[in-house]
């Protein structure tokens, strides 16, 4: 996923509405370098209200891991697709095969700490998360085991929009940049173009989730979401 510009990875809950895959090309066109697609889980313990609601809506629509992956296998967007989901779904036997068959490029499991990495079948790039509370040596170790990029959690909180980028985001990105050569993507609470720009001054890019999903939940279509993502793109460039 190395690019010569700052990386922008928007997030979308798979199955959020029947036309959800239509958002993917719109995101790519708006300047996304990769897309994080969430497979909704019944108990998203690290998500704030927005993505919780998105998960609930998607599940109520009848979304299953298979339906998301089937849809992804048919999409034609040519940027990497990273799937994120909770451990209970990610550790199921055959999950890696399903991801690969769907052409998925990587995996994020927010409730999978370093110690449990072996529980995930080999053969998929597993990106790990580091939090502001993670001690230096542990952060180092996580970065070494992470594949594709390192997910820097901006603050001690769940996912969700914020008014300001917490200082902890810059601290953590700086620490990680000094510790690894992997791309560092900052996520959690990146809600405004200014947050993205600020984070990217240190990090290699940002992940934008709740700010997008709130718009989608409020009825925004691919075009409108694309416009919003484009403002993020502009701020990063």
């Amino acid at each position: 996923m190395k690019t010569d510009r700052k990386i922008l990875m928007p997030y979308l809950t798979g199955g959020i509405n029947p036309q959800w895959t239509d958002y993917l090309p719109a995101l790519a066109e708006a300047g996304a370098d990769a897309i994080e697609v969430g497979i909704p889980f019944s108990d998203p313990t690290l998500d704030g209200v927005t993505i919780q609601e998105a998960s609930t809506v998607a599940l109520a629509n009848g979304t299953t891991p298979q339906s998301v992956l089937n849809a992804l296998s048919e999409t034609t967007v040519d940027i990497p697709i990273i799937v994120s989901t909770y451990a209970n779904l990610a550790v199921r036997k055959g999950f890696r095969t399903e991801l690969r068959e769907a052409g998925v490029d990587g995996l994020i499991v927010p409730d999978l700490p370093l110690e449990e990495v072996p529980a995930i079948e080999e053969g998929i790039e597993l990106a790990l998360l580091v939090s502001p509370a993670t001690p230096a040596d542990r952060a180092h170790e996580i970065a070494a085991r992470s594949r594709g990029f390192v997910y820097a959690v901006s603050s001690m909180s769940t996912t969700g929009e914020r008014d300001q980028l917490p200082a902890s985001a810059i601290d953590l990105a700086t620490r990680l940049k000094n510790a690894t050569d992997q791309p560092i993507l900052v996520g959690f609470g990146i809600s405004r173009p200014a947050h993205a720009a600020e984070a990217a001054r240190v990090a290699d890019g940002v992940i934008v989730g709740a700010a997008i999903m709130r718009r989608v939940l409020d009825g925004a279509g691919p075009a409108e979401v694309g416009e919003y993502v484009a403002t993020m793109r502009a701020a990063l460039d």
Binding site: S42, D43, P44, T45, T56, A87, N88, L129, V130, A133
Partner: protein
């Protein structure tokens, strides 16, 4: 932190340092005679330990098996939850934490944590599913009266599972100042181990109070803390251990291996891996999973897990009231229901001796029992 293939510490990285801190603090405290004595004093003076073992003579005569009840209903606040809440509150104080977070289902752990917080001057925030807030209003008022903040949780099934998720979310943003006082033998390491250790006072006392080892040791299982604490006292005996679940929350009986709330264990889930909502008349058993140690004991065959339905539990509660003058919590009534059903069958042969942990008193369930009684009259 592992019980066979179960357990672990499946939490977001943001919670890993906090879990490590709790594990480290508990490990040190648990071997510190000063801490043990402080806890022991508080359990004796404030909680009313030891609790007695009551021979249930009239019930035994009816069933043809000799039943004795370990009376956790007689503890301060009325359930075994206080053993763990006091232990963790003392630990939190020792760790220098300024407040407590808890989740609660029936409200007993919430009341216990609110109580321990009042006693040790630690503010308490309790997360409770909105449905439980409604059906356990008595306990909601008790918590608030004790000074705790009760936060209704409106997500998912609006019961214990969702309250636990919300408590974990809240903990993520407050690990520095707050201790998460988890109420059962679930969650990430060290919780399943720590909570069992704080609850083993039940089993240890009962073992000492019993002249001979009973043939069966029976307890109800939601997350499974009273059962884990009871079983711990009889692990090295020949007693057959039986955990009784609610049929609508039978993680150990009909769950599959999975990961939730920080540990790998057995959970009710659909074919896709989505966690199912539990349904039980007993709010404290209304949880789709079971603690990892129970999953392991089941695999080992050391403990046996069975499930009974709402009707059987309601009938067993009424029976204990009429024969022994004890109104049990609906949770404990499940354990009684299994004994009543199994007595005289090969599962529980006539003449057996049974130690059953009465995890709590039924005052909290009075409105439910009234409604049931009215229904059955209609």
């Amino acid at each position: 932190g592992r019980f066979g293939e179960y357990g672990g510490r499946w939490v977001p990285e943001s919670l890993v340092p906090a879990c490590l801190e709790v594990a480290d603090a508990f490990e040190k405290a648990w071997v510190d005679p000063g801490f043990r004595e402080q806890l022991q004093t508080m359990l004796a003076r404030h909680v009313g330990r030891p609790t007695p073992v009551t021979p249930a003579e009239r019930l035994s005569a009816e069933l043809g098996v000799t039943v004795a009840l370990k009376r956790e209903d007689l503890t301060h606040t009325g359930s075994h939850k206080i053993n763990n809440a006091v232990g963790q509150a003392l630990l939190a104080k020792r760790m220098g934490k300024q407040r407590l977070i808890a989740e609660t289902g029936a409200g007993m752990h919430g009341v216990a944590t609110a109580t321990a917080g009042a006693l040790l001057d630690l503010p308490v925030t309790v997360f409770m599913g909105e449905q439980d807030v409604e059906r356990q209003s008595h306990n909601v008022f008790r918590m608030r009266y004790l000074g705790a903040e009760v936060v209704p949780v409106r997500s998912g099934s609006r019961t214990l599972k969702d309250a636990t998720s919300e408590a974990m979310r809240h903990w993520v943003s407050s690990t520095e100042e707050a201790h998460y006082c988890l109420g059962s033998v679930v969650g990430p390491h060290p919780y399943p181990w720590m909570v069992r250790e704080f609850q083993r006072v039940i089993g240890d006392e009962a073992r000492e109070q019993h002249v001979t080892v009973p043939d069966f040791v029976v307890a109800c299982v939601g997350g499974g803390s009273n059962a884990a604490g009871t079983f711990a006292g009889f692990a090295d005996t020949s007693a057959r251990l039986v955990g009784v679940e609610a049929i609508g929350g039978s993680g150990a009986t009909s769950g599959q291996a999975g990961v939730l709330h920080g540990s790998r264990s057995l959970f009710l889930q659909d074919e896709h891996g989505q966690i199912l909502e539990a349904h039980s008349i007993a709010a404290g058993l209304d949880y789709p999973g079971v603690g990892p140690e129970h999953a392991h004991l089941r695999d080992l065959g050391r403990a046996q897990y069975v499930a009974v339905n709402d009707e059987a539990a309601v009938a067993a509660a009424a029976r204990l009231a009429r024969t022994e003058g004890i109104i049990p919590a609906l949770e404990s009534a499940h354990a009684l229901a299994w004994v009543a059903e199994a007595a005289g069958t090969p599962d529980l042969p006539a003449g057996s001796t049974v130690l059953l942990t009465l995890s709590g008193r039924g005052d909290k369930d009075i409105t439910t029992l009234i409604a049931r009684a009215e229904e059955s009259r209609a």
